[in-house]
Amino acid sequence: MNFDLGTDQRDAAAGARAFFSGSTSPAAARAALEGGAIEPGHKALAEIGFLGITVAEDAGGAGGSLLDLAVVAEQGGAVLAGPSLVTAARAAVLLADVPELAAQLADGSTAFAVLDGSADGSHPSIDAAAATTFLALDGGALVVGQGEATAGQPMDATRGLASVRLTDRRVLAEDAGELWARARQVAAVVLAAEDLGAADRAVALGVAYAKERQAFGRAIGSYQSVKHMLVDAWVGVDQLRSLVWWAAWAADAAPDELPLAASAAKAYAAQVFERAAETLIQVHGGIGYTWEHDAHLYWRRAKVDRLLLGDEAEHLDAVARLVEAGALRA
């Protein structure tokens, strides 16, 4: 057994960490709430090749695995980067047999978004606000087209959420239900990976502050009430990492395990990230509740992400139904 990242993946994660920390920060996520641009932005992500990690090589991508992408997505999550690599991973699955569009995904010449729900009025969908071309499931067929995006007032502006009504559409594949389901599972894994990075950073920020901040004559992190809160958040992050790696690995190496692993990772991510973000605020006290502090930006991301691509209840139900259908048979 070797349940660990390879050297290449560790190097890729280190490179991604350097790229993301040099190209965005929670400050950009704060500015985006007041109309600023989403950073590092679609163009920069295309240039560094992150949009094509899982696109086939002959379509101009890197032909990498979902795990390769997940370790990069984790680093983006740590600094609340946008747009999301969820869209890149999900579109790469949907466009696997459409190389000319996959190439546009990888090189960034087209900004795609994948719509959840009806093509005639979708649910709020990730990165749809700034996309030019939409992928949707329309009566069982995979379609591509243009559309009108309507965005609500953002809780987390980096997610670029909008509802879309397609104004034209072209069928890419009939009977695409299974492909669509798999793409959504892949998307759930990448969202969980971004949440992993964000939750990990939230815990690290909380721990750093608890070592520094003094109250009643000593560092607040020495009090068990504070310490145990942070430990519980950290244990969650450590466990989430295992589910994210397993699910990302399964997407390529054990596709039969993907539905269970993806739902497990997404359900767990919702809970873990929310707890980490809540903990971050509470450990900071009053300063953690201010607009100028970064804590609320992680909290906003957590409150939004937990509901995207299926909430915890939906994924727990999916896990139970998979078990009923024979998953985890001894």
């Binding site: 070797n2 349940f3 950290w234 295992s242 589910l243 994924h315 078990v323």
Partner: protein
């Protein structure tokens, strides 16, 4: 990344599996959900371990000079997985193998090693660990059992408690206070004690789940020869840390589930979910999903720890997270397992006499205490993994007899 055995691991697994099949007729086996009390089946339990020892499957990572196999922690973990797969119950000498033996290896004299280790491996002698006392559980170093030097002997008086297997044990490792004038951690000394010596009284304690796996042990003027000391006088805390480190290795959790395996729970859910009202099914699926996710998160985290072992590393303090999270998952599984029983959930067994899930439920509160309470584990993780400062303590510097204990 892969979840397959390396060729060496696969070879070793096949070797173990072959031996277990070859000796199947000589080994105890349990059916799922069944538990056999070692105290009422001592002969079978001891024989099972002896057969396994003679097959080279006990003490795998111990050095050869002490009767071990000179193998790796990974081989030990594989053997453990195969024992579980073959439904061999927990070895009667698991405390001796996991904790007492390694302590004797690290701190015992050559004479002690030659007298004890081979017999321990074969379960000719069963061992227990005499640490906790009525007034010192998590705060182990506050213990009050005294050992006073008298010629070539030490004379021991006091009481231990929660001592697993003391009622069947032949020997124990015993932590005592030998110098109350020194600070609490500095006045301790460890011994090997003969559990059949005059003055040792063992009283089984009935646990809340009904069984009697642990005991209180009284020492009334028990004489222990100085040759049975482990480590120097006053070095008992350091010796105990060896034991506790090995406990972490023993329960490090290389992907094994706490309580029932998630596959057993999944089978239970498959059977019971359809029998519930449709409205209840919706709620039950949430509980089933939550329990399965928590179990899988713990299992795959265990696989990451196992990978560290397999690459030659040692378990670090983060292994405490495995027990903490495993307990949480175990609680969710036990609770969902009971709830799935419908009306039978309010009884201690189902109408047809199956108590699997009710027993699991009753076992969980103890699990959250044994081998480090949830709260102590959180302190360890907070201080040793996250680097948070410890609470200031008034009990570490003055003499133990001074009152700040």
């Amino acid at each position: 990344m892969d979840f397959d055995d390396t060729p060496e691991e696969a070879g070793y697994r096949a070797h173990v599996r072959g031996l277990l099949e070859q000796h199947a007729g000589e080994l105890l086996h349990v059916s799922p959900g069944e538990s056999i009390d070692p105290s009422t089946h001592q002969a079978e339990f001891r024989a099972t371990q002896r057969v396994l020892a003679e097959a080279g499957l006990i003490g795998i990572p111990w050095p050869r000079e002490h009767g071990g196999q000179g193998g790796t922690l990974v081989q030990q973990a594989i053997a453990g997985q195969e024992f579980a797969r073959a439904r061999i119950p927990t070895l009667i000498n698991h405390i001796g193998l996991g904790m007492c033996g390694p302590t004797v290896i690290a701190h015992g004299s050559d004479d002690q090693k030659s007298r004890y280790l081979a017999r321990l491996l074969r379960a000719d002698d069963v061992w227990c660990q005499l640490f906790s006392e009525p007034a010192s559980g998590s705060d182990l170093a506050a213990l009050r059992t005294t050992a006073v030097r008298d010629g070539d002997d030490w004379v021991v008086n006091g009481q231990k408690v929660w001592t697993t297997l003391a009622h069947v044990a032949d020997y124990g490792i015993l932590l005592t206070r030998t110098d109350p004038e020194r600070p609490k951690h500095a006045g301790l000394t460890m011994f090997v004690v003969d559990m059949h010596a005059p003055g040792v009284t063992v009283r089984p304690l009935r646990q809340m789940a009904g069984g009697a796996g642990f005991n209180e042990v009284f020492f009334d003027d028990v004489r222990i020869p100085d040759a049975e000391r482990l480590g120097e006088p006053g070095e008992g805390w350091r010796v105990a840390l060896t034991t506790l480190m090995n406990e972490r290795v023993a329960i490090g959790g290389a992907g094994s589930d706490v309580g029932v395996p998630v596959e057993t729970f999944a089978a239970h859910a498959r059977e019971r979910l359809p029998a519930l009202d449709p409205d209840r099914q919706v709620l039950a699926r949430q509980a089933v999903g939550r329990a399965v996710v928590a179990s899988l998160a713990t299992r795959y985290t265990g696989y990451r720890r196992f990978t560290v072992l397999s690459q030659g590393g040692l378990p670090g303090p983060e292994a405490s997270a495995g027990k903490l999270a495993g307990t949480t998952a175990g609680r969710l599984v036990a609770d969902a397992g009971v709830r799935l029983l419908g009306d039978d959930a309010v009884y201690a067994a189902t109408a047809d006499g199956d108590a699997t899930w009710q027993r699991q439920q009753a076992y969980m509160p103890g699990l959250a205490i044994a081998g480090g309470t949830d709260q102590v584990l959180r302190n360890i993780l907070g201080e040793r993994v996250l680097g948070l400062p410890p609470e200031p303590r008034a009990d570490k510097s003055g003499p133990f007899s001074g009152g700040t204990r």
